[in-house]
Symmetry: C2
DNA sequence: TTGTAGGCGTTATCAG
DNA sequence: CTGATAACGCCTACAA
């Protein structure tokens, strides 16, 4: 690899001039500049990021803290990562994939202590998240995909749960349904303070109330089996339910099994919505489920972008909420008559 | 961040002594060493990776070239990434996620020209892949997840397609089936020279022949609709088929629809296998499909590990094949009578 | 066993 | 407008 010195020699100028010419960091005579640029091109010169980073204290590398793959689908996490990586790349940054161990704080201490990254991108943020406190205290710039209970002035990009719930409710009530049920994420995740579980639950309740829709919740099935059971119990307790929104993919499988078991069909007897799952996953179902697809790649993109904004200069904290997109499937229709 | 100099001052020794003590790169008197270690601990000293890399020409960073998310599920790619990242971490390396643009070669030139990474991890390798030629020519160490038609002496970890096909065939013929059909990946992927499409196709044919099983292939449905059509045509042309192996998730959805449409059920009338899809995805189906799950995380892990081996020292090229794991679902059974 | 000196490639400062 | 020089933090000779 050729260095600044090689270019300098070839162009017959001093190293510092080459640097200046290439970075536009100080005026350089047009002729000299041209000579330098040509020499650089001929040598295929590429600035060494390490040297640059050592000198400037800025590596233009971001770390994405990556949680150990949970049950769920993982597709969403993947899209965070690719979205963030793409945005980073567009802005001249790189993304380091940092798998999170059992000791996230040690992990953070390690990765930030190396001087390798300029900032950290957090995902799978819980309502109360020790990682944010550590990073704040350590003075490490970071942004979140998701958000804590009280994000303060930390940059974040999260789902607009309220808007998403409203859209779902509008969809369902527009079809004529009078009662909506909601299956939250698994008890484990919910108890863990996983943001989407808490917030989506709250917002669905609020949206239904606002719309004057009957509403049933309290179920948290995390598997097909649990989904099946929850569905049976739901209809036992609330036979008037004609529409159901489910957050867990696997639970939805169970619900469909339950529907079939009682000789019902979707959407004729039940309108079924998948919430916070990818359209990809929804297309695995038969019939294809109507989905509220999270803007995962977009959130990743935003998270990276706002972190870079913060690194490149101050500015007010950016806090963005993006609603899910309603992807119509073949699982929503008018309520069954007689309900 | 405290530097070597800070530690040296605190321990009242020269910088080089600190370096030596901490790296064990030359003998240091026990007493001095202890003093140094304590000083380092007290200051929370962490070696600066950039400085170290600049000096040693080794960054201990690997780039994972990440293709733009294809149709398919993406879960597999994600597991490559996490597997690789985990293995890298265990071995003291870091993984850079490098999204691949429309111009993969430029991308490679860029990422390797920066001096930022020691080596490159390739995935989604096609039978003929220009990237491998570029990297070889450029003298950049790399390993592949997957492999080209002729991998030469390049390190790779790939699926053991032959063993996988044999296991699938054994499973099916063990149940008593006499004729197996195979739906390959989409025409596009196949035409693209995507390794798994080519190889799995060949190996299934070979395994069936070996086992004396009737075999039908030539279908390449890439969507639910195409899967449905392919299934109808398959039974029209080969009504004797009782078992079907499908590579594309979406095509499987279509097949199930076709099964239902003719009043059939899985597995009573058709044994359905999902090939190269995750058990996660298989669990989305009803009934849960028997799956040949690719060892994605393991391949990622291996790919990273062998690249690191190569960087850390020579040794013969490592070329590993890992078979898929057969995850039994509720979609395989004895053939329908009367077939 | 320990210290000094030089250099990795870059940028910033300060003279010229 | 341009050139020398000194960092950045580390490692590896070489010298003491």
């Amino acid at each position: 690899m050729s260095s600044l010195r090689d270019v300098a020699e070839r162009a017959q100028v001093a190293v510092s001039t080459v640097s200046a010419a290439l970075n536009g960091t100080r005026p350089v005579a047009p002729a000299t500049k041209r000579r330098i640029e040509q020499a650089a091109a001929e040598l295929g010169y590429r600035p060494n990021l390490l040297a640059r980073g050592l000198q400037s204290k800025r590596t233009r590398i971001l770390a994405l803290l990556f949680p150990a793959p949970r049950s769920g689908f993982g597709l969403t996490e993947m899209q965070f990562a690719t979205g963030a990586a793409e945005a980073a790349k567009e802005l001249g940054y790189h993304l380091l994939l940092s798998p999170e161990s059992a000791e996230p704080i040690d992990e953070l201490r390690h990765i930030t202590g190396l001087g390798l990254v300029d900032g950290v991108l957090l995902m799978e943020v819980r309502m109360d998240d020790e990682r944010t406190e550590f990073l704040s205290a350590a003075g490490v710039p970071f942004s979140m995909i998701g958000r804590t209970r009280d994000p303060g002035s930390v940059d974040y990009a999260d789902i607009d749960f309220a808007a998403t719930a409203r859209e779902a409710v509008a969809h369902v009530s527009g079809l004529g349904h009078r009662t909506l049920a909601f299956f939250n994420l698994s008890t484990d995740l919910y108890a863990d303070g996983y943001g989407p579980a808490t917030r989506m639950g709250e917002e669905f309740a609020a949206a239904a109330r606002e719309a004057g829709l009957g509403y049933v919740d309290g179920f948290r099935p995390g598997s097909a089996e649990e989904g099946r059971q929850a569905f049976d119990r739901l209809l036992e307790l609330h036979p008037e339910v004609t529409a159901l929104a489910v957050m867990d993919d696997h639970a939805a499988v169970g619900v469909l099994a339950g529907v079939a078991a009682r000789g019902w069909r979707v959407p004729e007897h039940l309108t079924l919505l998948l919430v916070l799952s990818s359209a990809q996953a929804a297309a695995m179902f038969h019939p294809r489920l109507t989905t509220l697809e999270p803007p995962s790649a977009e959130l990743g993109r935003l998270g990276a972008r706002m972190l870079i904004d913060r690194l490149d200069g101050a500015g007010p904290p950016q806090q963005r909420l993006v609603p899910c997109r309603l992807v119509p499937g073949d699982s929503s229709a008018a309520p069954r008559s007689g309900a």
